[in-house]
Amino acid sequence: MCIAIPGEVIEIRDNIGVVDFGDLKQEVRLDLVDVNVGDFVLVHVGFAIQRLSREEGLETRELFREVMAAMED
């Protein structure tokens, strides 16, 4: 139910977008987000529920380093 899958918005028509999930492209409702072509979104039950921010997309490894560094302070 709460499964959400990331994909890239490759086309927008009104409140419907086409999202590329890698192995499949699907129409997705965009009512809940403000996005542009090229943005990455999380998709749940056919709706984009959030835009994924690339700046904040720290890899787990980097986050782990930060967490460990904070602990040593």
Binding site: M1, L32, F47, Q50, G57, F64
Partner: protein, 343 residues
Amino acid sequence: MGIEREISEQLHALVDRPMNFMHVCGTHEASIARSGLRSVLPPMMKIVMGPGCPVCITPAGEIDAALELAADGVTIATYGDLMRVPGSQESLESCGGDVRIVQGIHKAVEIAGRVKNEVVFVSVGFETTAPTVAAAIRAEPPKNFSILSYHRLVPPAMEWLLTQGEAKLHGFILPGHVCTVSGYHEYERFPVPQVVAGFEPEEILLGFLMLAQIVRQGEVGVRNAYPKAVSRDGNVKAMALMHRVFEPCDVEWRGFPVIPASGLRLRDEFGEYDALRKFGIAIKKVTKKTACICDRVLRGIADPSDCPLFGRACTPARPIGPCMVSHEGACRIWHTYHVGGRK
């Protein structure tokens, strides 16, 4: 050395006392079970799944209301996971009515646009899902469309678990996709360590590590281990839409009593889309004697393998309780990934 190994080693160094953590998300449980994560955890750390499966916490009385409508000839549309959830007598799958599986509410609205019959969407889900429903209702669906709003909100259930204290928890992994939409500011009022985590095994492990850290530091509050999707405020637009269309209501959860302000009902303004009001039906309280311990699994005080029926009388092919039906249910997940063996 793999990142999982590295995190796991740090975790072993940190966990020097019993730490019982609960997560409230079927997707977390599936990832933990599939990757065998519990086997690399320190012996004093225990992870339980709470009421993190929207289908599982839907009480039998709510299923009965949908069955009542199906029996009256209404077309029912809902998610596949809900089809086999037992009501007091039967399930949507076995009822013989016109019941259709849809990907989301927009597909149910499309059906209503094509047929003359009344179409009712059985609408379950947490904060992740409720805004999608709000968006569809705001778009003024056809008059022959309505919903049974069985939505639930996560924070009131956490509050219940915390005040009740029966599960003896030291911290929570917060549901990543719920928080993607709702943000985590609402959880800051809980005086307990909490970490929002992603869904890859190493992301969940990192969540555990951060939780253990907060416990060791003797602190409380929320930290975010899933910043690529989750911010403190979440998807403000989606939450505003949800509050515009729905208002909180007191509602029972399967395995729990009535939890104040933990459900969502359509505001009066959208009452014509509320199937309960439209068809004049009420949710009845169902008490059924059964050996199924789903209620205790959902409250985090029993494992699926504690149930005498697990893997014997109750299997995914012949489920007895909702936790064995839904892909997000703890029993179903444990059975699929052979966790817990048989007792």
